[in-house]
């Protein structure tokens, strides 16, 4: 009888231990832990992640973080197929504005790791805004993706044209005056050098939305349940852009997002002033290593008043709710994003604007990226774009095509604003 009871208890112990599974490992524990981390392929970003991973693994010898990268389009597809199957990696690199589309499949940041209040106090408003959905924090940003206001300026062209360098812009009229002088047209009448290329997709929507804000308007209704694009402020901003095209600073037929994209055109000497975010710098230097012209990065003056603008968050790190080691994953995310030394290292390697003011204002950042101190005056004015049902659809299939139509002369301002308003609001349905 005793033997039977003993055997039964033994079986029970085996069954219960099998059902119970493993005890989650803890950072600094002895149990080996393997974490998978997915990022999109960007060599500069990866060069920033690898030392962070090595440093974390050195501090936690039991943790092995395996970095996997995917081309941008493939990354989107992989996330969309892996997440429903619960097969995604433990740590996921996401763009802040994607959070509102994926939040159901992301783990909230535990309060003991970081509260919303703490996050809002250490990060700029715009980047952290993307990671907060319905009052819940889902990740931590690593960069301030600022598409507004930054321009690449070709010093060689400036000096060849006899313009003062560095540019002394007080108003946007000063920018247009320089751009007109920089613009060149070949013998057949085609624009060969665009004085001010502002007609790619990101600069177009960024300057449009900033122009609305700086003129005292807004593109959101009062309770953020719909858009208000057909406004006098929006009309005035489009008229400004149309006047700039009429002043021949850029031919939007020849210079736009698909033809003579601003990075390609600038680093081939076909643009005097190229409107694009700082992320373009690393890409341009990588893709056009033989570009011999001298250049630098500056910020434009506002249309009027304070340089208020909107930004769509930035790249950052999130954690899968399916991860068996969420606590270690969050520990790494916090290590990589909120530690100022680590964040500084990552921003320098990736060439991105820091998401934390403490990092952006550091001497190390200023030494490595001389354009960042120029941005410090405008970054505090950055507001989060707002959670949209489909940010990419609104920006790239609605706002940009209609504005480009206006600039290319196939749509009027009124037609474009009415269409943008109707189509953008239809994304809420």
């Amino acid at each position: 009888m005793k033997r039977k009871i003993f055997a039964l208890m033994l079986v029970l112990v085996f069954v219960l231990s099998a059902c119970g599974g493993k005890t989650p490992a803890v950072p600094g524990g002895d149990e080996p832990v393997v974490l998978r981390m997915w990022v999109h392929t960007n060599n500069a970003f990866i060069a920033g992640y690898e030392p962070l991973i090595a440093a974390y693994e050195a501090e936690h010898p039991n943790v092995d973080i395996q970095l996997e990268n995917f081309d941008y389009e493939l990354y989107l597809q992989t996330l969309q197929t892996a997440m429903p199957a619960g097969e995604e990696a433990d740590i996921l690199q996401l763009f802040g504005t994607w959070t509102s589309q994926y939040y159901e499949r992301l783990a909230p940041v535990p309060a003991e790791v970081l509260t919303i209040e703490e996050a809002q106090s250490i990060f700029y408003e715009a980047p952290i805004g993307g990671y907060i959905v319905n009052g819940v924090l889902y990740g931590m940003p690593q960069e301030f993706n600022c598409e507004y206001g930054g321009v690449l300026v070709n010093k060689t062209l400036y000096e060849a044209t006899g313009l003062t360098y560095p540019p002394q812009w007080e108003t946007m009229d000063d920018v247009l005056a320089d751009a007109q002088a920089l613009t060149q047209v070949d013998a057949s009448g085609m624009q060969s050098i665009a004085g001010f290329h502002f007609t790619a997709a990101d600069p177009t929507w960024a300057s449009f939305l900033a122009g609305i804000k700086q003129r005292g308007g807004d593109y959101w209704n009062a309770d953020h349940t719909g858009f208000t694009f057909n406004t006098p402020e929006a009309s005035a901003q489009l008229q400004w852009a149309l006047d700039a095209v009429d002043a021949d600073v850029v031919d939007p037929i020849v210079f736009n997002d698909s033809t003579n994209f601003v990075i390609d055109a600038f680093f081939q000497g076909k643009v005097g002033i190229g409107y694009i975010g700082t992320w373009a710098i690393a890409e341009g230097q990588t893709n056009f290593p033989d570009f011999a012209d001298e250049w630098a990065y500056f910020y434009l003056p506002s249309i009027q008043g304070d340089p208020v603008f909107v930004a769509d968050s930035g790249w950052g790190l999130t954690v899968s709710p399916n991860s068996k080691n969420q606590d270690i994953a969050w520990d790494f995310v916090k290590f990589a994003t909120t530690d100022t030394a680590n964040a500084t290292q990552w921003n320098i390697a990736s060439g991105t604007i820091p998401a934390m003011p403490a990092v952006a204002e550091s001497a190390e950042i200023a030494a490595a990226m001389p354009w960042i101190p120029k941005a410090l005056d405008i970054l505090p004015f950055g507001q989060y774009l707002g959670n949209m049902p489909d940010r990419d659809l609104v920006m790239y299939e609605i706002i940009y095509p209609h504005i480009l139509n206006v600039l290319q002369g196939v749509e009027t301002i009124d037609q474009a604003l009415e269409a943008i308003d109707t189509e953008a609001n239809s994304t809420f349905e």
């Binding site: 389009e73 989107l76 597809q77 996330l79 969309q80 197929t81 997440m83 429903p84 589309q101 994926y102 159901e104 499949r105 070949d186 013998a187 057949s188 009448g189 085609m190 060969s192 037929i253 020849v254 736009n256 997002d257 698909s258 033809t259 003579n260 076909k270 489909d390 990419d392 659809l393 299939e397 609605i398 095509p401 480009l404 139509n405 290319q408 002369g409 196939v410 109707t422 189509e423 953008a424 239809s426 994304t427 349905e429």
Partner: protein, 324 residues
């Protein structure tokens, strides 16, 4: 007698085993493959009745329901009379796809058939050489072809504009000017059609060459004895006899042009002003960029129906009831 029966049984048994092995070896993988394909098709069929996004968890069964709600036929009603940006883009894409396919088929036939006929008339020494040259673009990747044509169409450095400049003409932005058109079709669309034709024509040409070689020489000789000239022989003898091949070429060309994607994605990505946005590109963007999988599945179903109808019509019009 017994020996014969034994032999007979043995040989039958061997054959039966061989048959069973063959059936098992072929059928099981085929069933697995087909069931996978059918599952994918079935999943797409189900998705088109839901407002499904992979970013949302949805209901307990395959994520359907809940935050991925059942919408019935709403996607199709929206496609027909909706005012949303998706509906507008769908109608634009459908129109562009039809333009593309309707332009490609006759142009392709107008190039490939005469070219194949001409190749058949030249000496055998050069025949293989020319056939190889014409077939080379088919072997080239679509992305490579797109990049080559993009460089040729470049408004500033492309050699097409260089030639125009040389003769004193006004250069043109072939892939990005939404204002210009020809015969009611944008110049960008014509530019893409030309690139696609260049890549694709070698395939049909080789098929036509094979068909032309299959025509019995006696028929041609008889026609010549009857006093027909080359043109009459082509119209009255060659063309009717290659009608089954014509059917195959028409169906395949139509199918591939309805499904055009890669060359357009690389060359224009639907620009300018959505003038080159075709259905496959729209489906891809909705599915993978905007995570609108339910809508994309509904669009795919519409494309499937269109392709099926067009194929049936072609088969009815071009079918033959005879062989030679």
């Amino acid at each position: 007698m017994n020996l014969t029966m034994k032999r007979s049984k043995k040989s039958t048994g061997g054959l039966a085993i061989a048959k069973r092995r063959f059936v098992t070896g072929v059928t099981v993988p085929l069933l697995l493959y087909e069931s996978l394909g059918i599952f994918v098709l079935g999943w797409a069929f189900v998705l088109m009745f839901f407002d499904y996004s992979s970013g949302r968890i949805g209901g307990p069964i395959l994520g359907l329901g809940g935050s991925n709600p059942f919408v019935g036929l709403r996607h199709f009603i929206e496609m027909i009379k909706g005012t949303s940006v998706e509906a507008g883009l769908f109608r634009t894409s459908l129109r562009n796809t039809l333009i593309f396919a309707v332009a490609i088929l006759p142009l392709n036939l107008a190039i490939t058939l005469p070219l194949a006929w001409l190749l058949e008339t030249i000496g055998s020494r050069f025949k293989a050489l020319y056939r190889t040259i014409y077939f080379l673009p088919v072997l080239t990747s679509s992305v490579g072809v797109a990049l080559i044509w993009m460089s040729m169409y470049d408004p500033q450095a492309g050699w097409i504009n260089a030639i125009i400049r040389f003769f004193g003409g006004t250069p043109f932005s072939w892939l990005s000017d939404p204002r210009a058109g020809f015969a009611g079709v944008s110049v960008a669309m014509w530019a893409v059609i030309l690139a696609y034709l260049w890549q694709d024509y070698g395939y049909n040409m080789v098929i036509f060459i094979a068909a032309l070689q299959g025509i019995p020489q006696e028929l041609k000789d008889a026609a010549m004895i009857d006093g027909t000239n080359a043109w009459q022989a082509f119209i009255k003898i060659t063309l009717p006899l290659i009608r089954p091949t014509m059917l195959f070429v028409c169906v395949m060309t139509m199918l591939s042009s309805f499904q055009v994607f890669d060359i357009i994605q690389v060359m224009t990505n639907g620009d300018p002003n959505n003038q080159t946005q075709v259905l496959m590109l729209d489906i891809y963007k909705n599915a993978f960029r905007y995570q609108n999988l339910g809508w994309a599945a509904a669009e795919s179903f519409v494309l499937f129906i269109i392709v099926m109808i067009v194929t049936i019509i072609q088969m009815r019009v071009l079918r033959t009831d005879w062989e030679y």
